[in-house]
Symmetry: C2
Subunit: 194 residues, 2 copies
């Protein structure tokens, strides 16, 4: 059986859970408290020397890390990876952009609020500024389309929705972003995210 | 013909150049001065609303951004993407890790030195600390192997070498990392990087 080491509050970990649920895969979830050093034990580091969740163990025990790499591995052969080469490349573009230009701001602002208990005025201003820019870019991209790539949900939507749907917990106001809000609902429905 | 908007000092842009050269592809390189706002003009933003280089234009003019997404697109059907599903997933893991845990520190420290002209003691300490951790992780991974994944060079090596080979320009000392130094030479030879 597949095993996931994950933190149930982490969008990166939830991506993997949603994907496995969507695939109707059996798996064992091992809740890992990153704030208590759960991803820094010798046992954990022997599976993933980066000390990061999520980490997936395949049936044979081989480890795989990085949420979006896990999505791409689990998604092979499914409709969530576009058959068209350009659409597939654009999906990858969104997934790398998510980890470089969205997650480090939108998710980290939320981390400072939710995990570290900071107040709004204690969150680094740079995170709010760049997080807002990322959300604005999403709004523009989604204004005339239902899905980030092509005409159907892909791994890009799953990857991007993870922290976008909880951006308000980091202090980001989604009220002025109607296309993003409608898209969140579409993606949640498509993947059965409740 | 393919067109690349790139900054010739940027490792992310050089990845694309090396890949196209390795493939013996014809392409047009449009040098884009990011410090002078070259990636923030209305024309550029219409191609890539993230305002980032590299941005590739395909033969038909359609744009593609994110260096590692470009490598994956150009690399389809080549030996640089492993045939084995697990090796392929690990390659992706390294490529996402590069953009999340290596580039934002190793490349940004170098950016502050090379582009912004800061002195060593003006670089954010957090960048040096996390950059060193990333380089140490690479050293451990490469101590008993020639390539990051499997037994041949892959896109993971190309993606990771880009900023590792110029890490010293950001103030990182590679002297205590012999496996990394030997690997850099191997990757440079394999891809004809001079």
């Amino acid at each position: 059986m597949l095993t996931v080491f994950g933190d149930i509050r982490s969008g990166n970990c939830l991506k993997v859970k949603w994907m496995l649920d969507w695939l109707r895969h059996d798996y064992k979830w091992i809740e890992t408290d990153i704030m208590a050093g759960g991803s820094r034990t010798p046992e954990f580091l022997s599976l993933n020397s980066a000390g990061q969740v999520p980490t997936l163990l395949l049936e044979d025990g081989r480890p795989l890390a990085q949420s979006n790499a896990i999505l791409l591995h689990l998604g092979e052969g499914t409709d969530l990876i576009p058959a068209d080469a350009y659409d597939r490349a654009r999906m990858l573009e969104w997934m790398f952009w998510e980890q470089y230009s969205h997650e480090p701001y939108v998710a980290v602002a939320r981390f400072q609020r939710v995990y570290e208990g900071r107040k709004a005025d204690q969150v680094e201003p740079r995170l709010m500024e760049r997080g807002r820019a990322a959300l604005d870019r999403l709004e523009a991209a989604l204004t005339d389309r239902d899905w980030l790539v092509g005409t159907a949900p892909s791994l890009a939507d799953l990857a991007l929705v993870a922290y976008t749907r909880v951006a308000h917990e980091g202090g980001f106001d989604l009220t002025p972003l109607p296309a993003v809000r409608a898209w969140i609902q579409r993606v949640e429905t498509a993947f059965g995210i409740g």
